[in-house]
């Protein structure tokens, strides 16, 4: 090697050539395809993709060979305003952020404020009496073990866009419905209809 430097130089040149050729070949097809794909406006929040008519929560309609913008991280609502419950027995949602709250065998940060004994100090709504009952409806002195992990039922709400629109209507709005659809419903609705219509009429 040492006494034949041209051999080394030749080898190096060959390597450079092979690399250049590989570079060229590797890149050529990609530049060919890119213009064909229309410049897709990648709306990060479009989870429902209209053309395909389906929900695409992971890629949000961005083609696999393109990169979409990640959606903004949803913020937890922290306004401390109690929300309406959708139905009477719904576990109320948490009206504040709970970041870093330790809820485990050692300690329960939720109960710091919501335990019966502390509710006055923190001006927090105490947990319902049902949470002190075991499954035989016997009252216990402390929170029933089956109610200990608050987040099994109570959750925070974020400002994330809803994935699927909800058709749910609570009982009040169902009952307050105008009379017309009631004709389609079976018997029992009929007698009630005049009575519910009567009071407003009387007022007028």
């Amino acid at each position: 090697m040492r006494n034949k430097p041209w051999k080394t130089i030749g080898l190096a040149l060959l390597l450079v050539l092979v690399f250049a050729a590989g570079w060229k070949i590797g890149h050529a097809p990609r530049t060919g395809i890119a213009p064909k794909a229309p410049p897709m406006p990648v709306d990060a929040r479009a989870i429902f993709v209209p053309e395909s008519g389906q929900i695409d929560g992971l890629r949000r309609g961005v083609p696999v060979d393109q990169e979409g913008h990640p959606p903004p991280i949803a913020r937890v609502e922290n306004a401390d305003l109690k929300r309406v419950r959708a139905y009477p027995m719904q576990p109320p949602t948490i009206p504040h952020a709970i970041d870093g709250y330790q809820v485990d065998k050692n300690s329960n940060r939720c109960l710091l404020c919501h335990a019966r004994a502390n509710a006055a100090t923190f001006q927090a709504p105490p947990v319902s009496v049902t949470h002190y009952m075991d499954r035989d409806d016997q009252f216990l002195a402390t929170i029933s073990p089956r109610r200990y992990f608050c987040n099994q039922c109570h959750v925070v709400q974020t400002d994330a866009p809803v994935l699927v629109a909800s058709q749910f209507r609570d009982i009040d709005s169902v009952m307050a419905q105008p009379a017309t659809p009631a004709s389609a419903s079976p018997g029992p609705a009929e007698p009630r209809q005049p009575s519910s219509a009567a009071p407003p009429a009387a007022k007028e």
Binding site: A79, H96, G100, Q102, K105, N106, S107, C113, T121, F122
Partner: protein, 199 residues
């Protein structure tokens, strides 16, 4: 052996007691002054060196337990980029208190040498005792270390979450409670709290 050591010591003592023959009083005074400054500076530098996050987390007992837990909390990273390091919460700023705390800390070095908490299990067993020391200290000094950074008078309650504002006004404004009463476990996971009053 013993008599030899005694003779050496006595000789040294005699030299110390004899008035200086070669150096003037002025020289000795100035030299004493300079050496004093060097010693004092060195002492405080050494003290400062032990007052850093790097030092506190240089032993695995701290690094693998409390430091890991601190990392996920707001005092390690937050939107304002201000970090509370271990000494911010655990070492008083005031000099005499600081020295007192450092002397207490020698006990912790003792614990390190004899491995009182050298495994996760041992640490968890001791945790309630360790935590209790901190709670008592913070309770006694009215959460001074928290207040070095968080001052009630500088809190804009209208910018706090409304429940936080309400509770702070009620209990901090009246001076009836102090931060650590309600904010236990702010930087680390809590030990078994069954018998510990919170709030």
């Amino acid at each position: 052996m013993w008599s030899w050591a005694k003779r050496q010591l006595l000789g040294f003592w005699r030299i110390l007691r004899r008035p200086s023959r070669h150096y003037s009083l002025g020289f000795l005074t100035v030299a004493g002054f300079v050496v004093g400054i060097l010693f004092w500076g060195g002492f405080n530098t050494a003290l400062e060196a032990t007052n850093t996050e790097t030092f506190c987390t240089s032993c695995h007992e701290m690094r693998d337990n409390v430091f890991q837990e601190l990392k996920s909390t707001i005092h390690y990273t937050n939107r304002s980029g201000v970090r509370a390091t271990c000494p911010d919460c655990h070492v008083p700023h005031n000099w005499t208190d600081k020295i007192a705390r450092k002397m207490q800390a020698s006990k912790e070095v003792w614990g390190k040498i004899f491995g009182t908490i050298n495994t996760r299990e041992k640490f968890l067993d001791e945790r309630l005792i360790l935590a209790n020391h901190e709670w008592q200290r913070l309770k006694a000094n009215d959460s001074l270390e928290c207040r070095n950074c968080h001052n009630y008078d500088s809190m804009d309650l209208t910018r706090q979450a409304s429940r936080a504002a309400q509770v702070h006004k009620l209990w901090l404004g009246s001076g009836e409670k102090t931060c650590i009463d309600c904010h236990k476990g702010i930087a680390h996971r809590l030990p078994d709290m069954t018998e510990i009053p919170q709030g």
